[in-house]
């Protein structure tokens, strides 16, 4: 059974808002669940692709974009449960080393959409360790507000792939009405990011 640890102090909506305030022309791909609402709450943008399905697929969708758009930063904002469902992607991306891809895991150690059951990160699985062992040279965990600025700098600067885990509270916050029509989202993203 999981041991109850101290609840992390960082709040996910605020963390993501702070990250995206510096986005510039970056493209953002979200994982399913609360990450959508984090990114939407920070401000809707044509360069946001909200994935309301395909659990486990966010990192590879972003990788495909990163290869196609080598001069643009591509940021994944996803949850720990979503990342775990496609954990092999870290090995694939670690091998390929896309310079312009940053993966940010908002880790609340729970499946927030289904009732806050523990994920494996609540029981000791170390995502940063997995990323490092998969070939990510830059990977770190952040749990304090004072560490955010350094992480945000790393997301947007230097050669990727970069991987960050932000330990956050299970408290999420109000949610807006993020668009979920996939055909619309895909086409507005492509027009904004690829000019097609």
């Amino acid at each position: 059974m999981a041991t109850k640890k101290k609840e992390p102090a960082l709040l996910r909506r605020a963390v993501v808002k702070k990250i995206l305030a510096k986005r510039g022309d970056a493209a953002v791909v979200t994982g399913i669940g609360n990450a959508i609402h984090d990114v939407f709450a920070a401000g809707d943008d044509d360069r946001n692709m909200y994935l309301s399905g395909i659990m486990g697929g966010a990192s590879m969708v972003a990788f495909g974009v990163a290869l196609a758009q080598p001069r643009r930063r591509v940021i994944v904002i996803t949850g720990d449960g979503e990342l775990l469902a496609g954990i092999g992607s870290l090995a694939t991306i670690g091998v390929e080393k896309p310079k312009n891809l940053s993966i940010v895991v908002i880790d609340n150690q729970a499946y927030g959409a289904t009732g806050n059951q523990h994920t494996h990160t609540a029981r000791g699985v170390d995502l940063v360790g997995i990323a490092k062992a998969s070939g990510f040279e830059r990977a770190e965990q952040v749990s304090k507000a004072s560490e955010l600025d350094g992480m945000i700098d790393a997301i947007y600067r230097g050669d990727g792939p970069y991987f960050a885990v932000v330990k956050v509270s299970t408290r999420s916050g109000p949610r807006g009405d993020a668009p979920k029509d996939g055909t619309l989202l895909a086409r507005r993203f492509r027009a904004a990011v690829a000019g097609e």
């Binding site: 399905g53 697929g57 990788f63």
Partner: protein, 175 residues
């Protein structure tokens, strides 16, 4: 159909089609039936080939490639189709084109019984997931099938799979 020289392999023509239509990303799980095509793509500097740990990564990558403005091809063995079904829902939900080639196991002359359940379910699973299937089991017809399927995918905006029959690869004897 004009007779092909003995050294001819369908992979050469398919690779040329990939170049002609501007395939820039090739995502694959290594496979015997598609080995020669994979080799040609690996060596081609105009294409970025990516080895996957599991096939569902390929579906996601191909979706991302299109979102980013590039054409991609996804190559897999029929066994891998069973790993992609949920991921394929993105193609239907977002109407994203997908061009894929599936090398069949578990059909023509298969001698490895564990391949048969997934091989027999491959076409049904793809169709249920909304993928248009072109089955080809003559080597000479692979290139034209690929060309047609790629048009259907990229111009017709559909998810399409070219099923390369086991009769072509004759790989039934290997585990």
């Amino acid at each position: 159909m004009a007779r092909k020289p003995a050294s001819w392999h369908w992979s050469q023509d398919v690779h040329k089609i990939f170049r002609d239509i501007g395939i820039r990303q090739v995502a694959y799980v290594p496979d015997g039936g598609l080995a020669r095509l994979i080799e040609l793509c690996d060596r081609d500097r105009t294409m970025r080939s990516v080895v996957l740990t599991t096939e569902e990564e390929g579906v996601a990558q191909v979706a991302g490639a299109w979102l980013g403005g590039q054409r991609a091809a996804f190559l897999t063995q029929s066994g891998g189709v069973g790993n992609c079904i949920n991921m394929l829902s993105m193609m239907e939900e977002c109407r994203i084109p997908m061009f894929s080639m599936v090398s069949m196991r578990g059909e023509w002359g298969e001698t490895y019984p564990w391949q048969i359940p997934m091989g027999q379910a491959t076409v049904g699973a793809l169709q249920t997931a909304g993928v248009i299937v072109h089955h080809v089991d003559e080597a000479e017809r692979v290139p034209e099938t690929v060309a047609a399927a790629a048009k259907l995918a990229f111009d017709g905006m559909r998810a399409v799979a070219v099923i390369v029959g086991q009769r072509i690869s004759q790989s039934g004897g290997r585990g």
